[in-house]
């Protein structure tokens, strides 16, 4: 059986990544692609690398007949997403890649995103899309909220440790390095090649990055008490990938054992041998996440280093993994592509 798929917001990087992944998915067919400002264009004009595919033309969302659609990926900007999804048929399965439905508490949403939520009913219904930890709810959900790409990376490093109580909850520092495609195709001076190449800088320093809302929500829920990590994202001169260096207090071997056990059966999460560390490019273009644990020279301190591809495991790959579950397919279908190296 072939599921009919729509991608709303197909002219951005996560939209293109969804098309790339679905291109070799054996049980999905793309029947609609939207991009309001580029409606009428062929996808190959917007993304020449997709030229070989037989894809529908880009249209406006209003032009899509959703009656023939089984599931829509919504790869629209924050805030736009909630307005659009509110008006979609309630029978349509939706995987949203924006930030709009990640935070369950409306006050937290307003705090981090600066305005009240416009679709509170949907927000209640939405399931947080970190597949490995919300698998059952996702399988039966109608609306799944994709996680932030940084938020996913930090959570893969930390969730089992918080749950197992093997680290000090008040002493978590996430120093994260993110490639530039996470910022999307938006035209900003600091995203120009001339500015970013040979450069590197921290941003949203000091507790201002919105993905902290996700960390706070999820880590506090696991711990049953407030957990507020320290989080410094950096923009690095690369296009794809996130590497998070997470500083924790706890016995390094226990930290490693906890992660190794938690992810033993996971198809996409690989815990390296104790003492080994992953490199950002080891997972490029794939849905895998590699995690390493090293003890510090000072006993009781350890580093957890996690890498994933922000466009794949951090957004579009994760979205497809969730869609597989929602549509009754095997979770890994279409997602076992090996990383592209070098």
């Amino acid at each position: 059986m072939t599921h009919k798929i729509a991608i709303l917001g197909a002219s951005g990087y996560t939209g293109a990544e969804l098309v790339r992944l679905i291109a070799t998915h054996p049980a999905m067919e793309i029947v609609a692609l939207s991009a309001d400002r580029k409606a009428g264009m062929e996808m190959a004009e917007v993304f020449p690398h997709l030229r070989h595919l037989d894809l529908p033309k880009l249209v406006t969302i209003g032009e899509i007949d959703f009656s023939g659609v089984d599931l829509a990926f919504c790869a629209l900007p924050h805030a736009t997403s909630q307005a659009v999804i509110k008006d979609l048929p309630t029978s349509l399965k939706v995987v949203d890649l924006s930030a709009d439905f990640r935070l369950r508490d409306p006050a937290e949403y307003e705090k981090w995103y600066g305005k009240p939520h416009a679709a509170l009913e949907l927000q209640k219904e939405a399931v947080y899309g970190l597949t490995e930890f919300y698998r059952d709810q996702i399988a039966s959900a109608r609306l799944v909220a994709g996680t932030g790409c940084n938020a996913a990376t930090g959570q893969y490093a930390l969730r089992p440790l918080i749950a197992a109580g093997v680290i000090d909850l008040d002493e978590i520092v996430i120093d994260l390095k993110a490639a530039v495609s996470g910022a999307g195709r938006s035209l900003k001076e600091n995203l120009l090649h001339a500015e970013l190449s040979e450069n590197l800088m921290a941003y949203s320093v000091g507790g201002k990055h919105r993905h902290l809302g996700e960390f706070d929500q999820e880590f506090s829920a696991i711990a049953g008490r407030p957990v507020h990590v320290q989080f410094t994202p950096h923009l690095v001169p690369a296009n794809r990938g996130i590497l998070a260096t997470v500083y924790v207090r706890g016995e390094a071997e226990a930290v490693h054992a906890t992660l190794a056990e938690a992810y033993a059966g996971e198809p996409f999460l690989n815990v390296l041998p104790f003492g080994a560390v992953p490199a950002m490019k080891d997972v490029r273009g794939s849905n895998f996440c590699h995690i390493g644990v090293v003890g510090d020279r000072r006993p009781g301190r350890a580093m957890v280093i996690a890498v994933l591809d922000n466009l794949t495991k951090g957004s579009s790959g994760q979205a497809l993994q969730n869609a597989n579950l929602m549509l009754g397919e095997a979770e890994t279908t279409g997602l076992m592509l090996a990383p592209v190296f070098p």
Copy 2:
């Protein structure tokens, strides 16, 4: 039916690329991987990005039992390859990725590679591996010689034009820009990140590049007279990809029409609309080749611009395409992966 595959020389980039591609191939199973200097190691130690795969350990070639192998990819260095293949069972199908069997004339081989060929009988038997032009011979071949990656790019731009007589055979200039993975994983100063990044330079200038041997052989054979192109390769600060800017004398629209017609049915060769030009990254990580044609302001002159990924369509993808034919599989099996962008 699953074909049993061996990869000889699996610790280089083309070896790793073969593993990446075969990883999702539905009818191939890797049963042996060799790497003399790294024998005994796990592939994941040499290439951590392949960690998720269940692969045989690296062994020496001598340790492989070829009786259970249907086809071997030989991704060994030039000169080594002929010595190894000579000693393989004569019943074994072989796709060689080295330069050893590309040139049919032993004198030409000696001229370009600096020493006599050590396996002349095999050289006679070998079929040149530019799939789209040697399809039938490849399907029935036992030994196929993969082409040079630069040689493939230039030939895709030029072969139909030479065959159709629409360009001046004495006035062909190929100005080629190649990413660094084409140089392999060898340790050379000019391949260091600190040297190559932010840099760009011509090399083997003036008719010294060995792929000229292939151009001369193939173009002269098509034309039925000697054809000697002018060829300047450049090393560019990128990891994957080749872009060839080919200057020809002829009517631009005829040039475009000839290429469009020649490649109309080809699954991997895309000729862009007249006047459009491809970018190197449009095919990254894929087996596609995009070709554009533009007329110059001076009538009778045109530029053909072709791009492909040197590790995929330029070597390992091409090799797999040929192996599919040799094993009776559909030519595109396992090769329809979409390019990875950005």
Copy 3:
């Protein structure tokens, strides 16, 4: 004696490069910096790398008192420049870095830039700023028109050859590779790091690039007959630098000897030993231009390869070199900074 300098359009890359170079110039002082949209800001806010300098605040051009200014560098966009310079005091020396005064024939200007020139009187007065070839006129000029960066590179490779008659004037092909800072700090999708990094593409193919106007004007003037080169610029994933591969017909050794002789006394132009080729990064951040000549395997054909830094020798360094002449300083003052490698 210290010359008082104004820089109009100081918030772009060429403006910043002028400040960088003048920072260690012993006989110049920056007394005014303009940037209409950023008026009121400190230069350090716009370019943090200039934080250590004691610079005037950015103002609008209207706010500058030119009575205390000896020379103004005009680093404004094309078309804006002519409107601004028209209104400057006629006693003020001006080095313009835009394209506005490069073409002496108003019809050519209109052809390449799409509208009539708005300051024809000034256009007549302007001296073309390729220092080594217009030295005397520049020394006594009031208004000097900086050359295009690509145009400078091609001319350094070709002018002496055309003048000496050692090459075929109808068979010149310039295949040029340019780093991205030549496109300025403008916000365009193809200039994003995510798009350009790992990429490479031709642009303005087929005779559409505006610097052809300069090539045509200069080469035809030297030859005393029309000369129309074939010119294909490529955008490469680097920030600074141009490498031009120029294909000519002539005896390679004569080509080399002609260039070597022509540039023997030039402080910034280095002709390499015959057969050696320069790399783009060999001149990064400096005012030098390196030129190599190689003969092709086919007699009578040669390649001239020239490299320079588009922001230095290609624009701001050239502008400073000209300003030195106009102000009676030694031409090399402040410009002998060694290239930054790696």
Copy 4:
């Protein structure tokens, strides 16, 4: 007066950087350049970007007549350096860029470098070369030991804070990102462009990096008690630059005020306004260090972010700064070159 300078080990990146800087130094002349394996070659053959300079040929150290030399920069590998310096005339001033004389305690040297020191007498005499903190001793020293580039970055961020007692000495985490030229011109697989570009990884994780020896020595000396920081260096896909994100416990504004006051008169150390953060490229090619301080959302926690160019302020620029002092020149002579951006 012109000081006669020798550079031992001139064929590496720090050697080339010394030549670049001295090229425009008004009071230094390079009279000897050594490179054992490249003796007999011109510097322009090893580093074409220095082609415009009139430099002595490369020779072996044994060939240098030190009687005419005022000061030698020793840019040799670790361990080689001590053996060479031991045999130099005792009257010769020496600035060593290796690690050989950084650690005052022979046991610490042996612990971090794995073998006993071979020139203990010299080690006692050597002054640690972090100019701003050892100025007077450097001015009168005969032998100065250049600091590690990572060690310099971390110390600029932390020394005044430790001295002032405004941070918790047991809770210091240095997450450092370093460009690849810090690894020198050595041929290692992970330094290849194909491997490092688009990549990023931690190394020497968990307290294994040798620069910890310097941190321990210096910070403990300032504090008057043992201080052992947690330090994780990362290799980033850039050629020059270090960015250190330092996590401290203390009041952010006090941290900022302490640094701002400590560096108020320093020509090369710039403390940004409170809350602003520097980018790695803001100092590229220059001797400047920019430092920013930001408070975390959790009171009592702050981040200090420091950037410098590893080849300039982190090694060769620092070495020249020290040489200026040792030779009685103004400390900033030849070092006020503005950063190269973009």
